[in-house]
Symmetry: C2
């Protein structure tokens, strides 16, 4: 037994010699200076062509190379701090996620710093994110998650987990809620109540290659109910209460037979939709039915109370923190994918309060 184990160890150490920056340079076809500039965060990195940078990152990934200094820093100078990069903190959705992430982190002895980085802004937070000041980061927001800086941080040995987005790298864990299922539940419910013209008021229409967006579920439920998907009933608007009000106006002014119901991107937009329906003298749910998404506290206090897809915000934040901390503490590339289930919370705005959900 011992003999056998030792042989394995020898074999392993021979085949698995730790890769060096020279190996990375050779595989990428660049100089060691360039490798160091990309992976050590030296000043020159901004001037390196993006193809070169990508070649270095890909080579480092293939070889499993982590710069020594980053590894040493992580081992010796644990900051016990994790950073949570969010596209915005304007939506209370994120405060629920942050609170839960923070609670899970605290249980494991970590603190959480929230860094809001809006779409289009530079993902560059001084030395903070360069591995010196935190042990790992949780990233949300499409632009943040697809940023080359994220890959650079990962390549430098920082633990990373992605929230509610596709992971840009199989080694990076991803934790999300099932948006498509939510879109399906909301639309299926409205179709079951007899609505034939169901609109979708949304914040964005990004091509979701994985078919896992709200609108994918919306289309699936329409098809199942034998309803025609009419692009005129899909309205893209700004992600705010005012955006919801403007979106409702546009939906009601769309060509063709008017919509009698809408599945709305999130509860914040839905608050604006309800207010504008009131201003237009339309009764909810008698004249128009509304279903939101997120399950925010405000939904219980609107007039009428809002039917919504309850997203497990707390579980999402907790799982993201736990997954990240596991990656920090084991030093392993976990690459887990978690997708949490959602459920429909039926209140007054859909008109089904009297009858059970279909």
């Amino acid at each position: 037994m011992l003999q056998r184990d030792m042989t394995d160890l020898t074999t392993q150490s021979e085949t698995k010699r730790a890769p060096t920056s020279a190996d990375v340079a050779r595989l990428a076809g660049v100089s060691q200076t360039t490798v160091s500039q990309v992976l050590n965060g030296k000043a020159g990195v901004a001037r390196i062509a993006s193809e070169t940078r990508d070649k270095v990152l890909e080579a480092a990934r293939q070889l499993g190379y982590t710069p020594n200094h980053a590894a040493r820093s992580l081992r010796e100078r644990r900051t016990k701090l994790i950073a949570l990069i969010l596209p915005t903190i304007d939506n209370p959705y994120f405060s629920d996620v942050v609170n839960a992430a923070q609670e899970a982190a605290r249980e494991a002895g970590y603190a959480v710093a929230v860094i809001p980085i809006r779409a289009g802004e530079e993902f560059r937070v001084s030395t903070f994110l360069q591995g010196a000041a935190c042990d790992g980061i949780i990233v949300a927001g499409h632009d943040n998650c697809s940023s080359p800086e994220l890959q650079i941080l990962r390549a430098r040995g920082l633990a990373v987990a992605v929230l509610q987005e596709r992971s840009p790298d199989p080694a990076i864990s991803s934790v999300s809620v099932d948006l498509a299922e939510g879109g399906y539940l909301a639309t299926h419910h409205l179709a079951g109540l007899g609505h034939r013209r169901i609109g979708h008021i949304t914040e964005r229409l990004r091509p979701a290659a994985d078919g896992r967006s709200r609108i994918d579920g919306y289309r699936r439920a329409l098809a199942e109910a034998g309803l025609f998907f009419d692009p005129a009933l899909v309205v893209v608007t700004e992600n705010s209460m005012a955006g919801g009000a403007a979106g409702l106006d546009r939906l009601l002014e769309a060509d063709g037979e008017p919509a009698t119901a809408a599945f709305v991107y999130n509860d914040q937009l839905a608050v604006g939709v309800l207010a504008r329906l009131r201003e237009r003298g339309q009764r909810v749910p008698e004249d128009f039915a509304v279903v939101g998404f997120d399950g925010l506290a405000i939904g219980a206090f609107t007039a009428p109370p809002l039917t919504t897809v309850d997203s497990p915000r707390g579980a999402l934040g907790r799982l993201a923190a736990e997954t990240l901390i596991r990656a920090i503490e084991t030093g392993a590339d976990v690459g887990e994918t978690h997708r949490l289930p959602v459920r429909l919370e039926v209140r007054g705005s859909c008109g089904a309060r009297e009858r059970p959900a279909p």
Copy 2:
């Protein structure tokens, strides 16, 4: 002229020799080891009696002593990051403050990290706040601002500014909005509309030695209108929408002639108040008038839209960041006090839409 200047310089350098840790130890009557433990953040600090710690901090403050290592670290290793310690990010009030602080910081080349620390939690965020990972901190929340850790960070040479609280130290700048004036404007307005029994639904009743809380303005407006201050009409509740609903119930069940109006601590509570009034079949503003505080976006979308004291959240966040960055970059103890004015935003919930505000 030159002669004169040189004399002054000589005098200054003689009288103003940089204080050493030995001077601090002498003045505080403790050992240099103790001074070092308190001011350099060594592990032992938690075991030092709080009186001893206070003596060291007071001596360091009196002498203007800053540990060399902290000063050097600040000069040489600027992180270009500022931390914003908030008691919660649940209230959209804070996201408006954060967005503006972040914008001002970005203009000056700084990034912002938000660290939520709830009341009762430990103000100890690993090495992050020990002067190594950020250049300065903006602190909000009573417990955070009165924390001894804040004084320790300050004494270690970190720039500090306090948001919406009394500064615990004359050298620490404070930036706030005029809460008492807001309470006065709201209550004065309701009294001007003929209300004689005006309640106050609030989140807390902390003795405000400086007379600058919302309730001080509420009492001043009542007195001015010749109205009796009735403690039975002041209801303390949880700081949430559900708390607002519960507070309204308690206000309406209070002894004596019932209230016909309420000045509510913030818009979040007021959303709950409006929803509960609707549930109780009371018309707003005909049966009951409501004025909130903060000026959040939601107030334009409630039924009816909410009259509120508009707090300059953006200006507050911006000024806090600018004040802190000035302290970071000049290295000077600024100790500025800013108190920003508020204004009443009249909408439908107070019943004054038809008539001009008094």
